[in-house]
Symmetry: C2
């Protein structure tokens, strides 16, 4: 969050940057809310589950160590263990011990998980296009990408 | 979520827009993670609690109907009732019935809640400056704001 507008120290963030910060938070909240609703309504799948399924499907052998998965997902980082418990009960992932690391656990995509991902992908992708990608022409998308890379990588201006 | 890179329908989102989408998600995940960690370490306060405290502090009479609060906060929309339960147990908010709406409930900031917000605000605001605002000059911030407003408002290009 959170909009620091009325805090006593507001003056330390200039207006233009504060407006961008607010838009950034509102844009994320809105697009995630819409994508979540569409995926739930059309594919009966929470967006956080989709996020896990995609990352497992892209990994070698359809599996990742739990820590690797936690680093990869962009939602549900904090509640990942319970999330995987629920997905396992629905048969979408399996867990297994890492053979070369006795403290480690793998999460692995099941066939049912892969089917579920395939069914849900068109809804999700259409949502990304309609509620994000189609709002920008190529130049704008490249601008936006370059600016947001700085935040993603913690780089300073330049 | 979730990067749709490897889904069969990838071709429907052009590369530049897909890169911007990925940067957008990664930027949000990173900045929220860093701000959360700093706020927890320096002010012992979850970022979702800070979000609630800020919105109550900006409301008339330091109170909002639960539904208004759910619309206002940018984190924890889905788990808000339980979040307010926990904050009430720590004395940071009170609940009261709306006098003009027997189905409604207000959440109201307490004095302890206001003190907690005041203590945490400098940490949060420094984080917003260091990990977001300072990465952009004024022109860049205005550009970023204009592009992200489209997403926040669900507008098409132009």
């Amino acid at each position: 969050m959170a909009d620091p507008t009325s805090t006593p120290t507001r003056a330390t963030v200039p207006d233009s940057q504060l407006a961008a910060w607010r838009s950034f938070l509102e844009a994320h909240a809105r697009v995630i809310e819409v994508l979540s609703r569409e995926l739930r309504e059309e594919a009966d799948l929470p967006l956080s589950w989709y996020d896990v399924l995609v990352h497992l499907s892209e990994a070698p052998g359809d599996q990742l160590r739990m820590q690797e998965l936690a680093d990869a997902v962009l939602l549900s980082k904090s509640g990942l263990t319970r999330l995987i418990d629920r997905m396992q009960r629905e048969g979408l992932v399996n867990r297994s011990a890492c053979p070369d690391d006795r403290r480690g656990t793998y999460a692995q995509l099941t066939t049912a998980g892969r089917d579920r991902l395939r069914d849900a992908a068109p809804t999700h992708l259409r949502g990304v296009r309609d509620h994000f990608a189609d709002l920008f022409d190529d130049d704008e998308a490249r601008q936006l990408d370059a600016l947001l890379r700085r935040v993603a990588e913690g780089r300073t201006t330049g």
